[in-house]
Structure formats: C-alpha cells, structure tokens
Symmetry: C2
Subunit: 375 residues, 2 copies
C-alpha cells in the first residue's frame, strides 16, 4: 500500500503531509526533501536553521536527507522500532514463547475497542480461574451420580428376592446380594474422595486473593500507561512549541535578508534563543517520556513473567488433580472387583449334594420303606 | 408311653383291646395271650380253630404266642415295619440323602392337615421355580440401576464445563469428559449382557411345561395312593367278614360240645367252609392291597429320583448363571479401567510450555519491544 497524500492540513509553505501504510502521518519538505514525523527522529535543524541543535552544513544536510528514514513509530503513546529496522532486536527469552516477549502492542477487540497486550494476559488468568471452577462443577456432578448409584445398589441389596433359598446355594446368593452393598460402599468412598481430593482443591487452589492480586496488577500497569500517555502529550506540546519558534525564526531571518522589515539583529538573536529554549524543553519532555516508558517496560516484564509462572502452576496443578481423579477411578474399579471375591468363593462351594442333605435332614417325613401287609 | 386299655369296645368274651404308643389298636386273648392287630400279622387260626389256615398244635400255639409281636403298622393305608423290627432295612441309596429314601411317611402341616412326603418334594420343586423367578427380578433391578447410571454418565460427559480449556491440558480434559461416555457404554453393555446371559435364562430354564409336569406327577402319585386306600378298605372288610365267620364257627363248635343245640356235624362243616372261604377272600384282598402298594412304591422311587435330579439340575444351573453374573461384573470393572487409558496418556502429555506456545502464537499482540523515542 503506497503512502497517500493528506491534503487537508494547513501546513507551512513548502511542506506536504503523507500517511504511511502503518497509518502514521509524516511531513516532507518539498524543496529540501527533509522528512519529519510527529514521533520520529527528525533533524529539524538541518532543514530549517543551520544553528539549531544538530545543525549541519548543507553538504551534510544533503546526506542526511538521504539517511533520514522512518525507524520508529509511536502507537497509542508507546514507541516501537519500525519492523524493518528492528532486525537486531532479540527476544528476551528466545524459544520460550514467553509472555514477556509477545504482548507489547495493543490490539483491537471484535467490538473495535483497544485492548492492551497485558490485558490479554490478565484475561487469560481470570479465564483460567473460571476453568478450574467449571471443572470442579463437573466433578460435583460426578459425585452426585456416584451417590445416586450407591444408594440404588444399597437399597437393592436389601430386597428379599429369593431370601428363602437355602444351603450352599442360598449362601452364595445371599453373598451376591450383599456384594451390592459392598459395591455401594466402594462408590460412596469414591465420591467422598472425589470431593476431598479433587473437587475441593480445584475450587480452592486459587483463593479469593487471586482476583484481588490480578486487579492490583491491572491497575498498576494501567497507571504506568497513563503516565506514559500524559508524558507523551507533553512531548507533542513541546514539539509544537519548537516548531512555532523555528517558524518564527525562519520568517524573521527571511525578512532580514530581503530587508522586508526593520527587524534588527537583536530580534533575530531573541528568536534564536527562544528556539533553542524550545529545543531544550523538547529534549527534557522526551527524556521524561522515555523514563515513563521504561518504568512501564520493566513492570510489564516482571508482571507478565509472574502471570506466566502462575499459568504454569495452574496447568500443573490441574494436571495433578485430574491424575488424582484417574487414580481414584482405578482404585474404585479394583475395590469393586474385590467385592466379588467372597461371591466367587461361595459359588465355587455350591454343592447340590450337600444342599440335598441339609434339606432332607430338615424336611424328611420318614425313612422306613413300606412293606407288604401280612394276612 | 405304655399301652392303654381301651374299655369301650364290645368284644367277644376273653378279648381285651389296647392302643399302642403309635396309636394302633390291638387285641389280646386273655387266656391264650394271642395278639391280634387289625392290620398286623396274626395267627388267627392258632387261637380260634386248629383247622383254619396256619393251624397249629397247642404246643406250637404256645410257642407262637410268645413269638407273635407287632412287627408292622399301617398308617394312612400305608404299611410300614415297626421301627424295632426294621433293623435289617437298608437305604436304597446309602450316604446320598436321596429323596427316594426319606419321604415315605405322611406328615402333618402346621394347620394339622395331612401332607404326603411326595407333596413335600413337589413343593420343594415349585418353590425352586419361585426362587429362580425372584432371582431374575433381582437381576432386572440391577439392570435398571445400571441403565440409570449409564444415562447419567452419558449426559454429564456432554456438559460444556471448561470446554474452553485449550492445548494439551484442554485435550486431556476433553478426553476425561469423554471417558464418562465410554464408562456409560461399558455399563450399558453390562446391563445388556445381564439381561441376555443371566436374567433371561433364569426366567426360562424351567419353561411353563415344568408346572404341568409337576402337576402330572402329583396326580399320578395321588391316584396310586387312592387305589391303595380303596384296596385297604377291602382288606378291612374282608378281615371283619373272616372274624364274623370264625366267631360263628366257634360258637357252633361250643354249642356242639355242650350239646346246647341240635346243630349237626353238617352245620359245623358248613360254618368251617365259610370260614375258610372268608380266609381266602382276605388273602386275595391283602394280595391286591400289596400290589397297589408296590405300584405306588415303584412310582415313588422313580418320581422322587426324577425330582432329585431336577433339583440338582436347578442348583447347578443357577450356580452357573450366578457365575456368569460375577464374570460379567469382573469384565465390566476391567473395561471400565480401560476407559482411563487415553485419559492417563493425555494427562501424561500435559505440557505447560507447549500450551503457552500454542496460546501465545494465537493471542500475541506484538513482539517488538518499545524503544526510546528520539527527539
């Protein structure tokens, strides 16, 4: 996308304004080809006055005209290198995909509002807390299902079906029925441990303090950005003041040359002094701005690394709790198996002959066989 | 309990009537000490007439008086040896507690009604059918519980809790939720097999024909007893007729000796002939009775052994079906364990660094770090 000329501004004579593909305005002096950006480096003096800071000889000016390119860009009051000139910038933590390397810029959300990179990180943490809450709810639902199952098995184990079966078969049957009560116990224990070893930790491992901490980080970082914004406004103001002073100096110098007015050398010197002062003001404002940005930068690195650490902790904690879930499930299936052991044993011992003996002993009516009647 | 004399009967002169501890009436001739039982062996002739069947010399008579004891007893028209004289009777199937050895006598139920030994065996079989029906109901209840459990697990597996969790942790969580659906499948399969491999066979392995067969046995055996009863009545009648004939002979003989009447030798011979005939009738009736009893006896042995076989079959079949139940339970617990394998694997693979990389790649806002603004 080529730069487009912006025609609407009222500019000093000989200046044109363009917008770069990134959306930045920049100004070009038609005769000197000097480029000036509102937030970029600009060798003003070389274009407007040979005595302002950084003044150069025309020769040097020519060279500088060729050298002056956009190398930095300020977006939402944060100053970045232009991508092409950032080739030497290395990640703070290469190969780690660290939070501190990837969330410097703001972005726009789907509604078009501006969201800082830090806020994206913060939202991630808050969402993480929501995730653990929902996981705990899931576990709670499982607990309810297990308790219902246990209750049903327990009830059924007490039903009197075939309670009259006797002998070794009756014993095996009674144990089979009892095994349902044992199974119920197993599932109750499962649900109880689910509550204490999975659900509860999921709910509590980030306490209420977590949200407060996140708020604190949020406000602190936001405050530093605000400071940066206000320092940036000061820079803009100082730039404008310098531009005004320089224009005034230029006009007065021209007027002197063409003997347009009765301005004396004294007036020129005054204008030049004011111009220099404005330049000093600008330098100071830029300095304060850079300090504010540095503070924000340091806080960003520290806090984003803390959020990164918290996220690792969250993932590892959840991993461990879910492993505890599967451990409890494994345990439960094993305990469940063991409820069958006494049943299997008694089924093994089922003996129709023994049962007949027991039953006949109890219910026989008489073992004397009939004999012929005698006359 | 000693025998008690029953004084109320009008007996021939010289006879007394007693009741045995078992409740049987028997008669004693005071002078000869001959014992006569309505249903026992009795050498009538030796007491009343030297020419009736089995007549003996007085000497022999004396001996026999000492030898004649109660050796048999008829209860409800079935003739048994008196316990003391049954020492040589051995069980048909010793050491087996076989049905055919222990259900000869009738008994009284709690309400005082007479119940045959065979009926006790029959009731046992009918009760067995009731037992298997109740066991099937129990299994049906288990099936319902399993289906409810499966339905609940299946529903929960589809709840959206923490669906937004991403990366390796998100995958593990998603698999954990899915494992509930897998568990539901396992329990559905369990309930399905319970139905086809345990419940259904319990309901059907004795078909409706079973009750019909039992009824047939019942009626057949009951008919044979009825025949025995009617033959026994005939014996009683014949005994009485013989007693009458013998009394008549005795009276006529006495009268001849004391020249009490003008009865001739011819009259005596006629009376003696009638007595002999009555004796023959009695022999025939006793013979028919013994045949009827034998028929019943044989049918009892055959049928009770069949019931015994059926009972063994019932116990073994139920044992096998209940073993199938425990096999299915074992299977279920194992299949249930295996639903955790993919979950365990994915939990193993949870990697906070990888998840950070994935998330940062998707959500990063900018990796260029801020730089100082230039003037």
């Amino acid at each position: 996308m080529p730069s487009e000329e912006i025609k609407s501004l009222s500019l000093p004579v000989g200046w044109k304004c363009y917008r770069s593909p990134e959306g930045q305005k920049y100004y070009v002096n038609i005769s000197t080809k000097a480029v000036w950006q509102r937030n970029g480096s600009f060798d003003d003096a070389s274009c407007l006055s040979p005595q302002s800071p950084g003044s150069t000889s025309p020769a040097r000016r020519q060279n500088k005209e060729k050298e002056i390119k956009e190398t930095k860009i300020t977006i939402n009051c944060v100053t970045f290198p232009v991508p092409a000139s950032a080739l030497e910038q290395q990640l703070l933590k290469p190969s780690e995909w660290s939070y501190c390397d990837y969330f410097w810029a703001d972005k726009k959300d789907p509604q078009g509002a501006t969201v800082s990179g830090f806020e994206v990180l913060l939202q991630k943490q808050l969402k993480g807390k929501q995730m653990q809450k929902e996981m705990a709810e899931f576990i709670r639902e499982r607990i309810k299902i297990e308790e219902e199952y246990a209750k049903n098995l327990s009830k059924l184990s007490m039903f009197p079906m075939a309670a009259q079966e006797e002998g070794t078969l009756g014993e095996a049957w009674a144990q089979l029925k009892k095994s349902l009560a044992d199974e119920a116990e197993v599932h109750l224990k499962f649900s109880s441990k689910l509550q204490s070893e999975v659900e509860k930790p999921l709910l509590t491992f980030r306490g209420d303090n977590f949200k407060k901490d996140m708020k604190k980080y949020d406000h602190h970082i936001a405050d530093l950005r605000k400071q940066q914004v206000s320092r940036y406004a000061a820079v803009e103001k100082a730039r404008k003041a310098l531009a005004d002073r320089q224009k005034d100096l230029e006009v007065k110098t021209q007027q002197l040359e063409i003997k347009l007015s009765n301005k004396t050398e004294e007036d020129i010197k005054k204008a030049r002094r004011k111009s220099t002062q404005a330049g000093d003001d600008l330098m100071r404002c830029v300095d304060l701005y850079n300090q504010a940005q540095s503070k924000w930068f340091e806080e960003m690195v520290t806090t984003s690394l803390e959020l990164e650490r918290l996220e690792v902790e969250r993932v590892e904690t959840i991993q461990q709790l879910l492993r505890q879930y599967t451990t409890l499930r494994h345990e439960t299936d094993m305990f469940n198996q063991s409820t069958l052991e006494p049943v299997d044993q008694l089924l093994q011992s089922v003996d129709p002959a023994k049962d007949r003996e027991l039953w006949v002993k109890e219910h026989k009516t008489g073992d004397l066989r009939p004999v012929d009647m005698d006359i």
